[in-house]
């Protein structure tokens, strides 16, 4: 009886708790990434598998080494967010990248993209993209060397200098091809739509199959772990802006569909622009953020020096997130009255 057992908890309500916690969200993001990762391995073989594994492991290890408070019990690596960062970074890299570079980029992503801000939830920029931006600046040539895709027959053939040693001049005789975006930008060659949809194109390991990335996005939206407003805003703004340009000059400016399904747009939109930490929390803010990313992508792709602009677009909008949140606070309940009031 309670008389003899004074161990009653006296706290404040609520005393019930929803089933979802942060590690669960991270786990579901990994499930959603699984089809894309498997497709990457199908198209780019062992190189892709090693790349993603090394990134995930390095991120987790760095988080454990520097992010914990001394004990395993308090270690923040257990929430799996570092693994998500690693897998995402791996998916944005070219298949033939030397593994040591991937490891350096992963460590940078965790330390400079996340821990220096104060760890999970505190970072301004998406950590995966921070790591990739660093790699792009540090190693511009390997980061833009694209191995051709193949299928499972070539599983064990490496796509580049995967095992190159740090700071040795990489061999440059690896077989390379151009990505659909580069083909379009520099040679005005279109790529077949079905190839873009199923992923039979060259590019970063994870930006092959648009269909599988959308599948992952649909799963996360269904489980309500993804704010659908951001991808919708990006897709619509990219499509409309690109189509408008295309109507002006069909040779110089690609059509909207090609923009949507080529390059890193799908992967970046579904898995990085929607990173909750670095994107707005308010519903209207999500629209603003998505439209901003979409416009920047088309501007960089069509008018900038690079064939691809998804990474920088997202990072730029990440920087704008705090101000967007501030300016798009939801309209309070009861603040929209007036007209009907005097009926």
């Amino acid at each position: 009886m309670a008389d003899n057992n004074p161990r009653l908890v006296v706290a404040t309500s609520p005393f019930d708790k929803g089933p979802v916690d942060t590690p669960a969200i991270m786990r579901h993001v990994l499930y959603a990434l699984a089809p894309t990762t498997l497709a990457a391995i199908y198209y780019f073989g062992l190189s892709a598998l090693l790349l993603v594994t090394v990134c995930a492991f390095t991120c987790a290890f760095t988080e454990w080494l520097l992010g914990g408070r001394g004990s395993w019990r308090d270690s923040t690596v257990k929430d799996s967010s570092a693994i998500v960062t690693g897998v995402l970074l791996g998916l944005t890299l070219p298949p033939g990248l030397p593994l040591w570079m991937a490891a350096v980029g992963s460590a940078f992503a965790i330390v400079f993209g996340k821990l220096l801000f104060g760890g999970l939830g505190q970072n301004v920029f998406n950590p995966s993209l921070t790591g990739r931006a660093f790699l792009q600046a540090a190693f511009p040539v390997p980061l833009t060397t694209w191995a051709p895709y193949s299928n499972l027959d070539g599983f064990f053939s490496l796509r580049g200098d995967t095992f190159a040693l740090p700071f040795l001049r990489p061999e440059v005789d690896a077989l390379t091809t151009a990505t659909p975006l580069a083909l379009m930008k520099f040679e005005f060659l279109p790529t077949d739509f079905s190839a873009l949809l199923y992923g039979a194109t060259s590019g970063s390991v994870g930006e092959t199959s648009a269909a599988l990335i959308l599948l992952g996005g649909a799963y996360l939206t269904w489980r309500r772990f993804l704010n659908w407003r951001i991808p919708v805003a990006i897709f619509v703004s990219v499509y409309l802006f690109a189509s408008a340009l295309h109507m002006i000059d069909a040779v110089q400016f690609r059509d909207g569909v090609h923009h949507l399904f080529s390059g890193g747009l799908m992967l970046g939109t579904i898995f990085m622009a929607t990173d909750p930490v670095s994107s707005p929390v308010t519903p209207r803010g999500c629209w603003v953020f998505g439209i901003g990313v979409g416009l920047l992508v088309v501007i960089i792709r069509q008018f900038g020096g690079l064939p691809e602009g998804v990474m920088y677009s997202i990072l730029l909008m990440n920087a704008a997130t705090p101000i967007i949140d501030r300016l798009t606070q939801p309209a309070l309940y009861g603040s929209r009255t007036g007209k009907k009031d005097d009926s």
């Binding site: 309500s13 609520p14 005393f15 708790k17 929390v281 309070l332 309940y333 009861g334």
Partner: protein, 456 residues
């Protein structure tokens, strides 16, 4: 006949646990040996005792009178003798003045002043006075004096009466049983309210997890009574006054205003049923229906108990508690108040007693906010709990005012959904308390300065 299910935006879906008690009829408890009647059981001025120690009091007799307009009298809920008028444990956690009555077990416990009230021939003022003298307060939880809510201020009018039968808190089934068993009292109460308010239309809003109550009430509405059943989505906090109004009438109560400002009066269905009893045979508010539920109690039951019955007596009546009991709440798990003493009494506003076990209270550690925006999509008044939580964590209370913290109604939906287990609403309560304190102090300082100026 019944139209489509209505609802408000946002909100959460906690596990209901209502099956524990929703099929057992309301059961009257045996009179306990002693009842404790705190003078402060309602919002407003505490009642003032009119009896002394040693006095013999009868069930239904006034033992403390109202002090001012926003106050109600208190009645003896049992026949017996006054043994104590002193500080006593109050469910709010404070020590508060209370009248203790030792029950006379030889008394037949008949009502002190049993009578029918000829309400049809009374004026509105007389009806309101009857309700006030009956000690009526809202039984849904907030315990606001009923006659105050029914007194329409000059220049305003009540077009709609909304009867709140949502009972959106998990576990609680008091209103559910009342709607099934006391339909006639409810309809009588509605008639009286319609007369007082001269409303155009009456709605009874009930969540669809109580289809049996919706059907039974709808089939028993007297043909001459204008009143419509509205099925509402089972979602927390559907029973919050503002959410209920928005769900049924598609109107929002302006920030800082009351429902009457948009011509609506909301009353809890339990209050209305008790009002029906007042006008049927003159019974003041001396007993109420209380759900006793949770995995920590041996026999979950819906009880009819005298106001002032002590927690220990009620737990004993329900077969005692289980060994793994860890928490006893007055109210439901979302907004209930935890109790630490077995001698606290149930009040007029106590809708349920929920006993939670060790297993149901798994402790979770707080982790950083990942800005997932689940709380924004849960908040029924469209706040940004994510940003508010970040401000509260570093005690930037003044800045929280810019994010409308004072509009928070503390429903707890944000804390419920937060995947990082951040105690959001808990911190908001602290912030609101401190901000209110500060506002009071500033007002006092201003007034003092004005007085000093006037004197000089």
């Amino acid at each position: 006949m019944l139209k489509r299910v209505k609802s408000f935006r946002h909100g959460v879906h906690p596990a209901e646990h209502k099956a524990l008690t929703d099929s057992s009829p309301i059961e009257r408890v045996a009179f306990p040996d002693e009842v404790v009647l705190p003078l402060s059981q309602h919002i407003g001025g505490p009642s003032k005792p009119v009896v002394e120690i040693g006095d013999k009091v009868y069930r239904g007799q006034v033992i403390a009178e109202a002090t001012g307009f926003v106050s109600v009298p208190l009645h003896a809920s049992v026949t017996g003798s006054v043994t104590e008028i002193d500080k006593h444990h109050h469910p709010s956690g404070r020590l508060d003045e209370a009248i203790v009555i030792k029950v006379d077990h030889n008394s037949p416990q008949t009502l002190f002043d049993e009578r029918t009230v000829d309400w049809e021939n009374l004026s509105n003022e007389e009806l309101l006075e009857q309700i006030k003298q009956g000690g009526f307060v809202g039984l849904g939880g907030a315990a606001f004096p009923t006659h105050v809510k029914l007194s329409i201020p000059e220049g305003k009018r009540a077009r709609w009466l909304v009867v709140n039968g949502c009972e959106c808190e998990p576990y609680l089934t008091s209103d559910h049983r009342i709607m099934l068993e006391w339909a006639d009292s409810i309809f009588l109460g509605i008639r009286v309210l319609q007369k007082i308010l001269s409303t155009e239309k009456t709605y009874i809003g009930v969540e669809t997890n109580k289809w049996d109550a919706i059907k039974s009430l709808a089939s028993r509405i007297p043909p001459d009574l204008d009143c419509e059943l509205v099925p509402l989505e089972t979602k927390y906090p559907q029973g919050a006054e503002k959410m209920l109004i928005t769900a049924i009438l598609k109107r929002e109560v302006p920030s800082g205003k009351l429902p009457i400002d948009i011509h609506v009066v909301v009353q809890n269905v339990g209050t209305i049923a008790e009002l029906g009893d007042l006008f049927a045979f003159g019974q003041p508010l001396i007993e109420r229906v209380v759900t006793v539920s949770g995995l920590g109690i041996q026999n979950p039951t819906t009880l009819l108990a005298p106001v002032g019955t002590k927690l220990g007596d009620i737990l004993g009546y329900c077969g005692g508690v289980t060994d793994d009991l860890r928490e006893i709440l007055f109210g439901g798990p979302m907004m209930g108040v935890p109790q630490q003493f077995l001698d606290v009494p149930i009040l007029k506003g106590t809708s349920g007693i929920v006993c939670l076990t060790e297993e149901q209270l798994q402790e979770r550690t707080e982790s950083p906010c990942i800005r997932c925006s689940s709380c924004l999509e849960a908040c029924p008044v469209y706040l940004d709990p994510s940003t508010l939580g970040a401000l509260a964590r570093v005690a930037k209370y003044d800045e929280m005012l810019d994010y409308h913290i004072m509009d928070c109604m503390e429903c707890g939906a944000c804390s419920y959904v937060c995947p990082s287990n951040i105690p959001l609403v808990q911190r908001f309560r602290v912030a609101k308390g401190l901000l209110r304190e500060k506002q009071t102090r500033e007002k006092q300082a201003r007034e003092e300065a004005e007085r000093a100026e006037a004197a000089a």
